[in-house]
């Protein structure tokens, strides 16, 4: 659904990475690791059309990302749920409305209903639904971000450090949610430093681990 073909990216200075190929196919479950600053977040941004590759091709649902207009990118994003590393909420709206925002923006606000409540319970935010995002803890914000990413039932879920500030038990819970969604055929890509999370996932789901290092993306070995 999302394909990167020998993609390179540079922020203007030196090249951050090059010759990166990646395929987010239906039902795939992949982890992206690598040292801090290697460009994981940047690579994810290419996947949901926030950045454009310096060279190589990015295809979003069959369309060449380079040729897509802003509105086409917007429509593609409705099929991609993203957990951003820095969360990105509308700080003046309550958590529940923030989580429902992808539906609202797509003109499907009325679909939120019961699903929103189940989701809030699942990520442990049932009592925080009416609070504003700045009033949440870091971990609560990350859980809210994951809930917002999945509410529109996207074909692809991209999560950037979704468990950075979350205790082990809660990250297990979130992982299970992602695995359930993956079983429904959704492509999942998680950028993380958390090796325990990767190991646990590997016991539950067929997954691949990719490592971005020294400007290249490679399949990680069995040494995990």
């Amino acid at each position: 659904m999302i394909e990167l073909d020998r993609v390179a990216y540079s922020y203007g200075g030196g090249e951050l990475f090059s010759d990166v190929s990646l395929n987010l196919a239906p039902g795939s479950f992949q982890f992206l690791t690598g040292p801090s600053g290697a460009g994981k977040t940047t690579l994810l941004k290419l996947c949901y059309g926030e950045l454009r590759a310096t060279s190589g091709h990015v295809r979003l649902f069959g369309q060449n990302a380079r040729e897509m207009g802003r509105d086409e990118v917007a429509l593609a994003r409705r099929k991609i749920g993203v957990v951003h590393q820095d969360c990105q909420f509308l700080d003046h709206l309550p958590v529940a409305e923030n989580i429902a925002l992808p539906l609202t923006v797509a003109g499907r606000a009325q679909e939120a209903g019961d699903y929103l409540e189940d989701l809030l319970r699942w990520v442990g935010l049932a009592h925080q639904a009416g609070q504003l995002p700045p009033e949440l803890s870091g971990g609560e914000r990350q859980r809210a971000a994951l809930a917002r990413a999945v509410i529109i039932s996207p074909d692809v879920i991209i999560a950037d450090e979704p468990t950075g500030n979350i205790d082990w038990e809660m990250s297990q819970r979130l992982l299970r949610l992602l695995i359930e969604l993956n079983k429904m055929g959704k492509a999942v890509l998680i950028a993380t430093h958390d090796m325990n999370l990767i190991r646990t996932a590997k016991t539950q789901v067929q997954s691949r681990v990719l490592r971005l290092n020294n400007r290249r993306l490679q399949a990680a070995g069995v040494d995990l």
Binding site: Y48, E50, R70, D71, A74, L75, A76, R77, R78, V82, H84, Q88, F89, L90, D91, H92, L93, E97, L101, P102, T104, V105, A106, G107, A109, R148, I152
Partner: protein, 301 residues
């Protein structure tokens, strides 16, 4: 144009949710309310002026163009003969609907303000007055004068044009000025609202970013701003119009002031004109904000 208008209607009727995605912006809100209120207030006076001068010009030109006066001064024994000759001549002049000598009573009435009711008008050597009422395009004053000179030597034609034209000219100029003022007010309001909208857009860059990330399209994001500014401009202009209308109503009564101020209020169908001002403000705000928003969204992708 038609689709934009359709969107305008749909937006006013429509989904209030996009509004909530933009946080309340106190500063630009107050700026927009105040600007459109003040502009509507000013527009109300310009509008009243333009309507009144329009009426004035129409009335003057209609009344004055339709009538003129022929004055006959002659020795007492020739007056009747000359009057008869003049009327006969006038009746055969193209463009003259009727010509009628004023009766002694009417002349008395005309003189009363100056000499009181008791003047023995019959014994005074005052000229005879003939009232001419025109029809169609009116008569040709030069030709008429030439013929009068030949046949009625004591006649002087006063066709009012001497003082009519500058008056009508002044009234039309005044109306032109008033219309120009309205256009300038509308343009200034558009400019102010554009600036306010731009300020709101740049203050909400993060909001726009988040909306984009969750898949909002440009028109949706723009709509959140457009709707808000349109409603504010309408509310401000409605308040300004009401105050302006009250102020026009409270102008000294026309009878007391007499003369020129006559009719500087709204009359008849003229009362609908001020109702257009808030609508006009809303339309201006809609297009100004929409253009500003779409332009901003296009540059920051």
């Amino acid at each position: 144009m038609i689709t934009a208008f359709g969107r305008f209607i749909a937006m006013l009727a429509g989904d209030p949710l996009p509004d909530r995605s933009v946080p309340p912006t106190g500063y630009t809100a107050r700026l927009t309310l105040f600007t459109s209120g003040a502009m509507a207030f000013l527009a109300m006076f310009a509008l009243a002026l333009s309507l009144a001068t329009g009426r004035l010009a129409d009335r003057w030109s209609a009344e004055l163009a339709r009538t003129s006066t022929l004055r006959i001064s002659a020795p007492a024994d020739q007056l009747d003969a000359q009057q008869a000759a003049a009327i006969k001549l006038l009746e055969t002049t193209p463009g003259v609907a009727s010509a009628r000598a004023l009766s002694t009573e009417e002349q008395q009435e005309l003189l009363e303000p100056w000499f009181g009711p008791d003047i023995p008008i019959a014994s005074l050597p005052i000229p005879r007055l003939i009232e001419i009422i025109e029809e169609g395009e009116g008569y040709d004053p030069t030709g008429l004068r030439a013929r009068l000179q030949a046949e009625v030597p004591g006649a002087i034609l006063d066709d009012h044009t001497r003082w009519r034209e500058p008056l009508i000219d002044a009234a039309s100029r005044l109306r032109l000025l008033a219309v120009t003022a309205i256009l300038l007010i509308v343009a200034a309001m558009g400019a102010m609202i554009t600036l306010a909208a731009q300020a709101a857009l740049s203050a909400n860059a993060q909001v726009i970013r988040v909306m984009r990330l969750v898949g909002a399209r440009d028109l949706y994001i723009a709509g959140a701003f457009v709707r808000r500014f349109t409603i504010r401009a309408f509310a401000g202009a409605a308040a300004g119009s009401i105050v302006g209308m009250l102020a026009v109503l409270l102008l000294p009564s026309t009878e007391v002031a007499g003369g020129f101020l006559t009719g500087l209020g709204f009359q008849g169908a003229g009362w609908f004109a001020p109702l257009c001002i808030p609508v006009l403000a809303a339309v201006v705000a809609f297009f100004a904000t929409r253009a500003a928003a779409l332009r901003t969204l296009r540059t920051q992708s």
